[in-house]
Amino acid sequence: MATEFHNLQDMQHTASLVTKVFIQRDYSEGTVCRFQTKFPAELDNRIERALLEQTVKTLNSYYVEAEKVGGQSYLEGCLACATAYIVFLCMETRYEKVLKKISGYIQEQNEKIYAPRGLLLTDPIERGMRVLEISVFEDRGSSGSSPSSSMSSCSTAR
């Protein structure tokens, strides 16, 4: 059952939400933000394992970069302390910059990989960094309704 969507807008209009799959946080390395790379069983026939794993691994590496305690974060911290933390009012922290990159990455992944398979990734920041939410959509037309309605939904998808 191949549900073809050409972009996210098509999906949201013609598809109905079937279920949401949640990839939980992996705390085995402490409090660093990391998501489990275990493949959820519900997505077995929707997407290839390697693709999802790659996405999660890339996200994890972005989070590691954001939370890295290194030269730049020390500089930022010391500068902020010296200015009684007022500098944070005008400057964007490194973490925020990386979060923006992550947003862009997720959007790109959604457009290229997930939407064509009827899936949608939600940025973890919108879920309080608790889970990576994957919404599973299904074409309304293919859920056993009358042929005429499925025809019309197919035409709107085009």
Binding site: K20, Y27, G30, T31, C81, L120, T122, E126, G128, M129
Partner: protein, 492 residues
């Protein structure tokens, strides 16, 4: 027209990763958009359109502010002119810089989000419930056992507890603050003096505040004494005192503050260098007394590295989007059989809220500090019903905590554990630790109340449970507790 509207909706939202139901937007467009802080489920107060976030009880914070402002004001007005003249003008300049730093860090600590974890969305909660039920093999007893998940971090087994209010498994080092009714990341303690929780996002500001305040207190104390001594060489001791009575007041305030604040700074310096939170230290989570192999898995082993991580590590952004607009409800999945249907649209939530309001309002607002309630079985229903509501900030959401005799016990315990002795101001410690202790007591020891999961009529049920516990007698003792708390404060 419907298609046209959805086309417009399509252009407006572009390719958004947030799911939204186009069908609900015609209604949403007519009502003014509200910001998320207005419907924040925790017990926090928001100011400046969601930019400032504080705990519900802020009286003590204003006291802190007044003490600092008045003492420094007196110092600059009465002592600095003399000192600048007799010694050097650098003194008021240095004092001024310290004062500004103290104020800046205090406000930063008090006004920022400590690292609140937003509550789980209904879908997430349902998913977790399903997983837990699957693991428990469907044994749905009247009182399901407390849920924990074990994870191995750096070779040490850590238990992750399930928070019944927020419906999440708390990340390691997170804890639920009962005063603010939020789960906070890397929870240190709830500090009434700053009127906020101290957690991951504002711990460094808090530490800088108490450190700079220690310096400021010692600075003022030293120079006021110097002023009096120099003055008394010229005019005599009593004349000097009579000429600047403000100095006497300053000496008194500083003398009493120094012990507690310097002690607190020392304590937190120790915590930072060993990468522990106040919570963990009090519980002795990583103490070698618990076991030979017990060690802190978060510590890097090096004092310098630990300090750098705590103070100069990256500052994560707030996870609760306070100033974002509330969007149309996400498309809900088919309601699962365990009946979480009550998590419907905001309208139904609000109607639930309206139903619960009369019952909630009869409980007085929670006393700030001392009460800790080990019997949280009774308080949990309050949380359960509260999570249903949207606009909670306007209600007097006291979390009714039945009084117990244990607060005084744990108060002593905490004082014994601390290296600070003597003054009444030291109650900052037991007060803070009390709250910290309280969270640790919460979900582990107490099983979830009936009707938490199988939510057929949770409201009615939990409310009857609730009201049967909270009789007028307990209300009086609530008042008694709050009075007790205030009395302890006033002994400062």
């Amino acid at each position: 027209m419907h298609l046209g509207e959805s086309m417009r909706e399509c252009e407006y939202s572009q390719i958004s990763t947030r799911s939204s139901t186009p069908m609900e937007t015609p209604y949403k467009k007519r009502t003014p958009k509200r910001k998320k802080w207005e419907t924040f489920p925790g017990r926090n107060k928001f100011y400046c359109d969601g930019r400032i976030m504080m705990a519900k009880q802020t009286g003590v914070f204003y006291l802190t502010l007044v003490l600092i402002l008045v003492t420094c004001g007196l110092f600059f007005t009465f002592d600095c002119p003399f000192l600048a003249q007799q010694l050097t003008p650098i003194i008021p300049v240095l004092g001024g810089a310290l004062f500004l730093f103290v104020l800046g860090t205090l406000l930063r600590t008090s006004f920022s989000d400590p690292g609140v974890l937003p509550r789980a969305t209904p879908d997430e909660a349902a998913d977790l419930e399903r997983q837990i039920d699957y693991v428990a093999n469907g044994t749905k007893g009247y009182r399901p056992p407390p849920r924990t998940k074990e994870v191995v971090i750096n070779g040490q087994t850590v238990k992750l507890k399930y928070c019944f209010t927020c419906k999440i498994f708390r990340p390691p080092r997170a804890s639920h603050c009962s005063l603010c009714d939020n789960c906070v990341e890397r929870f240190d303690h709830h500090c009434p003096w700053v009127g906020n929780c101290v957690g991951r996002r504002n711990y460094r500001f808090f530490y800088m505040f108490i450190l700079s305040l220690s310096f400021l207190t010692i600075f003022i104390f030293a120079f006021v004494i110097t002023h009096i001594i120099l003055s008394s060489y010229q005019k005599g001791f009593l004349t000097a005192l009579k000429e600047s009575p403000a100095s006497v007041l300053e000496v008194v305030v500083c003398f009493f503050s120094v012990w507690s604040i310097v002690g607190l700074s020392g304590f937190h310096t120790y915590l930072i260098s060993s990468n522990q939170t106040t919570n963990e230290d009090i519980k002795g989570s990583w103490s070698s007394k618990r076991g030979k192999d017990n060690y802190n898995p978060y510590s890097s082993g090096n004092i310098f590295t630990n300090c750098c991580v705590a103070l100069c590590g990256p500052l994560p952004p707030s996870l609760i989007d306070r100033r974002g607009f509330i969007e149309a409800d996400a498309p809900q999945m088919a309601p699962p059989t365990n009946g979480i249907t009550m998590y419907g649209a905001t309208q139904s939530q609000q109607s639930h809220m309206a139903a619960t309001t009369p019952l909630l309002q009869q409980h007085s607002s929670e006393p700030v500090i001392i009460t800790s309630s080990p019997e949280n079985g009774t308080s949990l229903p309050a949380r359960a019903s509260l999570t249903l509501g949207g606009p909670c900030s306007s209600l007097p959401l006291g979390q009714p905590t039945p009084p117990t005799s244990t607060p005084s016990l744990s108060c002593h315990e905490a004082t014994d554990m601390l290296p600070i002795h003597g003054h009444a101001l030291n109650h900052t410690h037991p007060l803070q630790e009390q709250a910290a202790l309280h969270h640790y007591l919460t979900p582990e020891e107490v099983p979830s109340p009936p009707g938490m999961l199988h939510c057929g009529s949770p409201l009615g049920h939990s409310h009857t449970v609730q009201t049967s516990f909270y009789n007028p007698a307990s209300q009086d003792s609530l008042h008694e507790d709050s009075v007790r708390g205030l009395v302890k404060l006033s002994s400062v």
